[in-house]
Symmetry: D3
Subunit: 239 residues, 6 copies
């Protein structure tokens, strides 16, 4: 089984990290193919960048010319999953949703700890659309940018642990989701420090994608995600 794991930003080292995290959890026989969009922001931290990423991820997947069995969009709270579902016959999994839905098996309520304060509403909106919001206790931010996670992992762990503990004690969360594709490597440290289950979206998404493939299930094509109608589209694919 081959799974494409598409980073939403154009920072290759982050793609590598995400790919490594995905490979770590993948079942024997699953090949992980990490991909970086051909255009877009070096880090996605807002709506403009997220909309660009939606198109950049679709463009990157369409230009991949080998067969594959599932696609993971490895961005937290980003736009775009619905477009991939229209374009593809294979299952598409967004890490925001995979993390939340995994967390809901583990506790009564979960919280998300993410990067900048400005990305909190984007994550809240995606959880609302996904219908996974009722058991979300809170989305909290560390104040660290996406690229700072990479450059100073120790500080990142401290900041995440502080917010995770506030989530557990003040917001009554029982599970923590790491709200950024780039937080994957910090999972163990945060879990040890907080004592509650910690869900990394990339890892969760790999198991969801594998599960859907094994179950022989893929996106329904009867209405929302029917293939695009044949029509003139100028400048697409973009790259």
């Amino acid at each position: 089984m081959r799974i494409l794991v598409v980073n939403v930003n154009t920072t290759a080292s982050m793609t590598a990290g995400i790919g490594a995290q995905a490979a770590r959890v993948a079942a024997p026989g699953t090949e992980i193919v990490p991909l970086t969009p051909r255009f877009g922001a070096e880090s996605v931290e807002g709506n403009l960048e997220s909309y660009l990423a939606a198109v950049g991820v679709m463009d990157r997947v369409l230009s991949y010319d080998q067969p594959y069995d599932a696609v993971i969009q490895a961005g937290y709270g980003e736009h775009g999953r619905e477009g991939l579902q229209e374009l593809l016959d294979v299952p598409v999994v967004d890490i925001t949703e995979a993390a939340a839905s995994t967390a809901m098996y583990l506790g009564h309520r979960y919280s998300v700890v993410t990067t900048l304060d400005r990305t909190v509403p984007l994550i809240e909106d995606r959880l609302l659309l996904a219908g996974l919001d009722r058991r979300c206790a809170s989305v909290r931010s560390t104040g660290l940018g996406v690229l700072e996670l990479e450059s100073d992992p120790e500080r990142a762990v401290e900041a995440i642990v502080a917010q995770a503990e506030a989530a557990v004690h003040e917001d009554r969360a029982e599970v923590i989701c790491l709200g950024c594709g780039g937080m994957a490597e910090l999972e163990t440290a945060v879990r040890e420090r907080t004592g509650v289950p910690v869900v990394d979206g990339v890892a969760a998404a790999v198991t969801v994608a594998e599960s859907l493939v094994r179950l022989g299930l893929s996106t329904s094509k009867v209405r929302t995600y029917a293939p695009p109608r044949p029509k003139r589209i100028d400048g697409w694919p973009l790259a």
Copy 2:
């Protein structure tokens, strides 16, 4: 006052129709500038096309080099408004939201009548995100594509009236929103035939945009719609 009214698709005749509808309702002294994206689909009827439109509209607005006071995104149920709000200091109005929020002044519940069945969930999702869903009685589709509205207006009126009447009698709507930028010219006909208020999103959005400008109000920049952080963005603007 100058208001940019940006079509979401690349069909110039539709841009002209939208521009004419906007100009019809504009106050004296308001200049309407209709714009067509430089890339994207000839009609937007699904998620891929809608995400492309989000980026295409942002690209078109950024490349407009004259001053302006407000921007209207003239697509029903489309992605993108949040990105414009980040990028711009002037107010941004989406016609889906302008229609709904106008309708809510006129009756206890409203329905939207749109084009294809596949676009219904996109509109429902945008109303949910906008927090304008509780008083939405239904989103109904005529089964006609966006471009068919233009080519056969008489048939379009019949189909819209049929759905509007079902909305009033079965779904208990009291107001009808025309759920497509290209339906603007049919407004009077539908109103006469159904006997309930009919809201065209483009017209509503023009008055909302003018109102915000006159009130001296624009997008809050404290969190969700703060300007993008300075960073490397490859291939942007796209065109």
Copy 3:
């Protein structure tokens, strides 16, 4: 165009202030007619007074004998708008709803800052009924009575700014609505102090009313707001 702006309380100086605020924002050619009910409380700060105001406002409008194009009910969180909609053919706009729906164009969430703590639930209830509650971050009170706003505007600004800042930082609001007809004159001061958009309901309502008139739209008469059936009503109109 002539718009009646009806105060909910019987304090004439407050009617004058509301009228002045409405006139300031009105378009050229719009005549603002401020009206004071012929009975009711000098300030409306609770349910008894609000129900009296509902009837007092209807009574006052019915006894106005000139033609007019729209009616604004200038009370925050008060009862009565639905009765006016039944009685009148012209559009009716409540400032609570106009403020909220205007705020929703400007940020992800908004808060209302109002007078006494006891009026908070009334405002929450009206927003719930109006279907404008989902994006309301909080309704906060300053502890100042309606008439204290007038008598000590400096203290009022301080109290409002304090609550507005708490709303932005603790409740994650991005826009502030001034939750009292009598707060209109403080709008600029609060805006300057907080750095976020501040919406005054009276001003917002004027632009909404003008917009509806220009769009040729008024209350739907098919069900909820159909004209009262002919019947015996003792003691009405009351005054």
Copy 4:
């Protein structure tokens, strides 16, 4: 124990019917005092009339000069209960809420069958405000006016049974609430015909009021229903 049961309309024969229904279910030792407002509509079937009733009921209760232990507002879906709660120290019970909350002990979902279609949204709004809406399967109308119930009880029973059966089979209700004070006398007939529990609001409200009195409980005065502040109120009490 003495309970005031206040009709919302000015039709004395209806007050008598409501009083008889209340007396039928009252415990030994409970005295029922039926009251008719001194002004207002002969039947309440819309917002204008309902707001008048809110004030008319308060006025009537205030002018009652004997001691009493509780007040029942005997109108379905009407305004006003909150004002009584502010004014009085004794418990106040609205029949709309008493019926719904009683029905919720009896089945998974309940429906309300009411008079005219135009009153459906008023009842829905009151249930929403009361927080009793989630288990409401539907509010259905018979199309009969309030006074027609009295004049043609046989036809009324047929119409109510038809809607009740539709509620059970189509809307999945398991309990029916009779949505009009004047339907009380039809309760047994409807129950026998439909085979599901049928709740009359007046009867339910009497037991609720008696229960609150026996429990020594009354309206909380800490915030929403604190007594009105001392102030000038022109023309009140009205009659």
Copy 5:
């Protein structure tokens, strides 16, 4: 009228306390029969124990061989009420729901003060299922176990008052429900100390059960609570 009041745990002294509280509020002519399950936990403070209690209560009621008119399940936030409703023709009242629905007559929002933090989600879940959650301001815990309430009532009062005051001032509750069958005897003390209405679920449930009996109403049998189908059930009744 005879009402069975079934404790959910197997501590006989607690059954006696509950019975005494029920008897105190019962109408003349109402006989209260307190019952203790024949198996289960000495105190119910979690899901395992609550599921056991659900079965233990059904078992105890089925083995009671005298006629009775209603059953009260005297556990806060526990499972089981639905099973009793299927099995019995008489009304079944859960104290969690009786307390909440009584509180809703008394203030705009209510809070529950319960024992251990771990039982908070159980109560929240039961209120959600009952459709009584919208006006619940919070469920707060004292940190005291069920049996500690009995052994140290003075400390219990202090702890409950502290949480009740936090509920009123921070969560904006206006009424307090005592969230444990064993808190009944503390009701007066808490009421005096907090100044807001305090609802004990056992007392409230007695009046609800009496009311339903007097109204001639019992559980609807058309769908959810239809009698169990005839079938083989191994090991039942259990004891």
Copy 6:
């Protein structure tokens, strides 16, 4: 990896069918251990039976004396999952939730097709508690009992297909969940006939359980699902 798959009823042939379905989808190296409760109903079709099943499943798991890695509760819409989560350190997966959360990856809305009409509210309640209800378009019943599925699979397929098609066309579902553990063997037939993805809860739950084990995740123990406190529990374990 060893996964216990516990039937909720005592019909051994059904346990065998569930076990076979689980084994079919299990990964290489996963051992499926199907278990039948030692007491309870031969089929679970209501609340009494479901509560008995909750206790029967806990009893059966506790008396299993080999090591295992996860537990699946194979009943649709049944009580009990929360108790297992308290008792066990390994992940617990309910098939109702596994089916719904799997379906949500595949389409905008899903429907459940179940057995008897009386079980519909139980399933709705479990989805509500699980926070998986927003994207549920409907829960529909075939009118066939649990044991009839086994005895007449052809008729069962027809009945399920009829409801599934109604769900897709009338309720706007895009995915169908088979709402009964015993429907597993009909999955392929229903999928072929309807053309939309069909999710069997047992199969879905196996992949979820395997995923949680592989991710090293299990139930959070900080609050709701903390181990039961040490205390006297009479008659437990029951068998």
